[in-house]
Symmetry: C2
């Protein structure tokens, strides 16, 4: 006998939690489709040379890579790089701006630790081939609707613009230090001023400039407040002007669509890692679960598709790390049942089995979820099973029920019982649910 | 620039086909839940020693196996072995009979050839922990409902019983040749009598016995016909009696649930490969697509969970190979659109963008799928896009619409246009869809 176990870092659910998880997935899918994003899926395995074309990402380093025959393969570690490959490969068959959603698992061989999985779901939306701020607005509005439909009332979207810090570095002729500065500032919230100052000193930025950087990235609030504060910063280049305009325009669009500053603020501390972003970036946090960090984040990336295609296609996207989010908020979801069924039909004698099947068919045809207990176990055992899977109703069927062509329905919570004719069974069940 | 391509044998869809595929998945999921199967998912990667515990299966040999750090991993090649592991691992947290459905991808590194994929979806249902023929009936009724809901009117389920041939071999003291005989008979339909006879001769079965085997496995038809023919075969052991009883009982149950012999027949040629089956087995074929072979098959397996657990738990299941089925029948599915959206809102001027967002929100709130074209491209370009993604309606919004707080809706098929107030927009759209 072999001990049944999984590789560490690989989670799976019992039915009760899987049902709650699937319900979340359905909500997200529905919102994505209501906003006109079309579904795609990409293979779990990609050619390593294609998937890992862009060097340097942490996630890429953690990918599961192996050889099968002569083929160097890697499992996808996010949904964005496969999207870039997909768009380039199917360029002539797609219509741009291309809007797609994708809800699939990704794999990262990172250190297993609490709340970190090596396999988890990402739910992504992206718009490829639009330079308009309407695309940013669309992604943010859709994300906000997802948050709302998931009932996450404590969520707030923090929006930033990579262009602000870029423009400042440009004005100081420090643009070559861009990556190092971003990496340090990204740690500000977790590690504080002192640590970030030390790091920036080490890479050769002087104290006065560090002071300015810290002041700059600590700007946050409503759009007009942020713009006012930024206007006081003396940066005179195109990138800065564009960033200010973007913030203003995006704010107008979000407000026009009914959002307000309970839903979002601007916060220039948001860097969103080192990856491919070039413009607006954002992260969503739950004020009741700050330990989660960002539950939904994204931004604009101008260069990604270019790894695989001669046309430059700007993209913007958002990604929800659903597996982690689910684990944090599953207590907020109200699901007791370990079965999608509403009624369990209990055959109490071999002679009634065909009648049970007839009853099940009748109830099924009324679009109710039902099944017949597959066996002739004692009533107490069948009831015990019903109790354990938390099914709301059972239909007891013995010789008496068969003879009279009725069913006896019992509410498993209240214990209340009532008999009904087969013809009225579905209606009675609906009333009792 | 890197050429964007996938490893061979790995398929992906354009949005139009992905939408049709997802629609099929939704139908199957709905039917499974209506029959009270609970969802689970298992990780893509399992420990190789656990997943490949049972030697000999073709599919296992084709698994993607590799080492990461010190861990020997393998990607799942079906959903049944992971289920056995799952049931054993979570034994004390599950309620039996355990009914689950699982719709996930599996990976097999087989030779790439037309219609064969190295990654494909399986949609499985299983009942673990019931010895009753009610479980067989449940699996078959659910499979039949899936077929019906997918609109596959030319499907027929062919049911067989492993016990018949087993009992015959037992009676002839040939049970040690069981595997070889099954392997040969499995090829009967494709390779014919002559080839099978040669093979059986080679493994040492005499001509007279081969004749009997061929007569036995060629028995097919309605239950009473099959039982009548089998009664003439002189086999006097318990296994044979049980097989006959099983066929009779299952037939009674299927008829009680409203099935008839247009839905299913018994056909003793059905072997269902060499895998773990021990009792009733079945395969479903489409008479209009015989080249597909079995689109949904399964059966009872008594020993699988026992690889991982001390309790013996009998199981029965059915599996749909959805990716192949989809490719064969996608022409039967009526989907033109490359977007789930019903309305595209077209901003014809920068000044109308906020109004467009307001309109989109209003329409979205009425649970219609809508998005704003993310950019201010010329009307002809926007209309061309609408045409290409085959969206049914567009809402043209220019200065006039903004001023009057109306929208102008155009049906992209008929070209018909009509204007409506913002308040009546959703109702008008519903009428035009």
């Amino acid at each position: 006998m072999i001990t049944p176990k999984r590789p560490s870092g690989f989670n799976e659910f019992l039915p009760k939690d899987q049902m709650a998880f699937n319900a979340m997935m359905s909500v997200i899918k529905l919102v994505y489709e209501q906003h006109g994003y079309a579904p795609i899926e990409t293979p779990a395995l990609e050619l390593a040379e294609v998937l890992l074309a862009k060097e340097g990402g942490e996630s890429a380093k953690q990918s599961y890579r192996f050889t099968k025959g002569d083929t160097d393969l890697a499992m996808r570690f996010d949904l964005t790089v496969p999207l870039a490959r997909y768009v380039a490969e199917h360029y002539h068959e797609l219509s741009f701006p291309f809007r797609r959603y994708q809800m699939q698992e990704v794999w990262r061989g990172e250190k297993a630790q609490a709340g970190r999985y090596r396999q988890f779901y990402q739910c992504d939306i992206d718009i490829i081939g639009s330079n308009s701020l309407l695309a940013e607005a669309d992604i943010l509005l859709t994300s906000n609707d997802v948050i709302k439909e998931l009932g996450l009332k404590d969520a707030i979207i923090k929006i930033s613009h990579r262009g602000v810090l870029n423009a400042w570095l440009e004005s100081k002729k420090l643009k070559h230090l861009n990556t190092e500065v971003l990496r340090s500032v990204d740690k500000l919230e977790k590690q504080g001023d002192k640590k970030v100052t030390e790091e920036l000193l080490k890479i050769g930025i002087n104290k006065n400039d560090i002071q300015q950087i810290l002041e700059l990235v600590k700007i946050s609030g409503k759009a007009d407040e942020v713009i006012k504060k930024l206007s006081l910063v003396k940066i005179d280049n195109e990138e800065f002007k564009k960033a200010l305009n973007d913030i203003k325009e995006l704010d107008t669009y979000l407000k026009a669509a009914g959002l307000n500053n309970k839903n979002y603020i601007f916060d220039l501390k948001i860097i969103r890692g080192l990856d491919y972003y070039t413009g607006i970036v954002f992260e969503t946090v739950l004020t009741k679960n700050p330990e989660l960090g960002s539950i939904c984040g994204g931004g604009r990336y101008d260069n990604l598709v270019g790894f695989y295609h001669k046309e430059k296609l700007s993209g913007i996207g958002a990604s929800i790390g659903l597996s982690r989010l689910f684990n944090a908020i599953k207590d907020r979801i109200n699901n007791d049942q370990s079965t999608p069924a509403q009624v369990l039909i209990m055959p109490l004698d071999k002679s009634v089995v065909p009648y049970c099947l007839e009853v099940a068919k009748k109830i099924n045809q009324a679009k109710l979820n039902v099944f017949v207990y597959p066996g002739l176990d004692k009533m107490s055992k069948q009831l015990n099973y019903a109790n354990k899977i938390k099914i709301p109703l059972v239909a007891l069927i013995g010789e008496n029920e068969l003879k009279k062509k009725i069913i006896t329905i019992k509410n498993m919570k209240t214990g209340k019982q009532s008999s009904t004719s087969l013809a009225k069974a579905a209606a009675t069940i609906r009333k009792m649910l």
